[in-house]
Symmetry: C2
Subunit: 345 residues, 2 copies
């Protein structure tokens, strides 16, 4: 106990005192130490002295008017995509003594605005929003009230709010290049909703990647799903395959849409993979257990959440003034849902 | 607009004023109306007068010292089980003007205690805990500090804290009865961790249901998985099938364990369903898309979350003094992972 190599961190103090890191943070912050149990406070202060802990001067100085809570709004608490984003953000925030207030906006854009307003009224120190739409009214309220905001997973068209998102062009290109290398030429796209950046950007990425290979990517080989769920994906894939029965592969804009493609392909009496290849996007858990296991673009969601939280904390501390968009690089996980086409075209 | 049948609710006032229900709640609460924008406040008060809205007297009277936030602690934000529980709780809380502070305790029991303490220090009005262990130290802190607590999904052995859980005995009985009716006699159980109530109760339920049919359910046909995930499920199923190669069906204590059984059965070169039947528990999303689609006990998780929140609000309002456990009735969803055994025994 008490042996720490290098400059001691808040985590070391917490371990030494036998408390949670957020408790240690509050105990060492003059603005918040009144809420800490006196005995715990004494233990933390003694541990900090023993280890020679010094809080980061910039971060600490600006914390005095804070509630030490960050709000995060996600569009659908039941979509497995958001678990890793939340976990990544939380892992960073808890280290710095912040709590994460999670809001669920699954009742649409108006509800997202209400949840954001609710969090602002609760004086969160900043917001991480996974609910951005391309033309975004939600943000006006937050930014006009001076609350630091970072977008995650999706961004707006204006791009004037810091955002940590995936590189959708690069991701779709990985999927298209993989299918082309297998011999596919007649490839369709089941697109996401065009009013969110992921739907729009992946569609643009699909067209660009196809054209780079000299392949046709007109609007008739693209079908937009109403929302990122299995059933709308099945409906879009059915429409696409009815219009172009000779399609040999489908690039879906997310995994649930791709699972809808599975369903549509099976309802035609065909096999996913050997008859028609399908690629997903995000690589949510359990895709390796589907039949066939799904080839999917993997987005580093945990890292995305962690970087969004870190950017927000830097903005709160006044050490970050970027207004840019950071795009994280996806990878492709090849599994059994992609195979060479039955007949070379 | 403004036409409301029956006694007007807070929701009606919010709709009439064009604000979120939580904003309406704060506007009508003398203790919290200072945080509401004056123009919005005026609109809500006028809407309430116009509709003749009267707040529930008991609930309102006790709200004056409240932060109008409820903490909920879940054991793993990435487990798809908890999305519907959170969504169900949130749907009730938001109607009453509460915000939900979600904490993730995926780093084990000590972390759960720290997250609970953190929420208490933030003066949440009550806690919904999905992290209970059978012998539960977490609760001592919360209950000794006078914070109302409701358990959800799991409970403790003492059972002295209100809990809304699934009826695990009834659920496992559905699975066993289904397999027996198909002709299975040599049935094994991949159990969950025995230190949480779901693992313990489902195991007890398995033994009781088997014995009621006069079937053998000794410890050698039960294998406990280390944790509720796919890999530990595969390891447990492999051990079970190695010890008893003539097993024709496995009842798994949750869906991820059942997916592990799929993996173990395939690694023996056998087929799930036609060679060895498997049942899951919970019915998480996408099980219908597995190959074969999984037969599973379905637990009403959204209802579970909603009832836990409603119970907590009743405790806060002083209208509920139950200390009991409420068990919700599960159903069985039959899909392709269960079939008659190849050879009648």
């Amino acid at each position: 106990m008490g042996i720490v190599s290098g400059r001691p961190t808040l985590k070391d103090v917490a371990r030494e005192a036998g408390v949670h890191v957020s408790t240690a943070s509050r105990a060492l912050n003059p603005a918040t130490q009144s809420v800490v149990n006196p005995e715990t406070l004494k233990r933390v202060v003694e541990a900090a002295e023993r280890l020679g802990y010094r809080p980061h001067p910039l971060a600490r100085g600006l914390r005095t008017n804070q509630t030490m809570s960050i709000g995060m709004v996600i569009p659908d608490v039941e979509n497995p995509l958001f678990g890793p984003i939340v976990a990544g953000a939380e892992s960073v925030l808890v280290e710095e003594g912040y709590s994460l207030l999670i809001g669920n906006a699954d009742r649409g854009i108006e509800h997202a605005e209400a949840v954001i307003q609710d969090m602002i009224e609760r004086h969160v120190d900043g917001l991480v929003l996974a609910t951005a739409t391309r033309d975004d009214g939600q943000l006006a309220a937050a930014t006009s009230q001076g609350v630091p905001v970072v977008l995650v997973n999706r961004t707006t068209d204006r791009g004037d709010v810091p955002a940590i998102i995936g590189d959708d062009h690069a991701g779709i290109t990985l999927a298209v290049d993989h299918l082309v290398s297998l011999g596919h030429r007649r490839i369709g796209h089941v697109a996401g909703p065009s009013w969110v950046s992921t739907g729009h950007d992946r569609r643009q990425g699909f067209v660009a990647a196809m054209e780079r290979h000299g392949l046709y990517a007109g609007p008739d080989v693209i079908e937009e799903a109403e929302w990122y769920q299995v059933e709308p994906g099945a409906a879009a894939a059915s429409a696409l395959l009815e219009r172009h029965p000779d399609t040999t592969a489908i690039v879906a804009a997310n995994d649930l849409l791709a699972l809808g493609c599975y369903r549509a392909i099976r309802s035609l009496g065909k096999e996913v993979g050997s008859d028609i290849s399908v690629t997903g996007y995000n690589d949510i858990p359990l895709l390796d257990l589907m039949q066939p296991p799904m080839t999917a673009v993997r987005v580093p969601h945990r890292q995305m959440g962690a970087e969004a939280a870190a950017t927000l904390l830097a903005m709160i501390a006044g050490t970050e003034h970027t207004r840019g968009t950071k795009r994280l690089t996806p990878t492709l996980v090849v599994r059994g849902s992609t195979a060479p086409p039955r007949t070379a075209s």
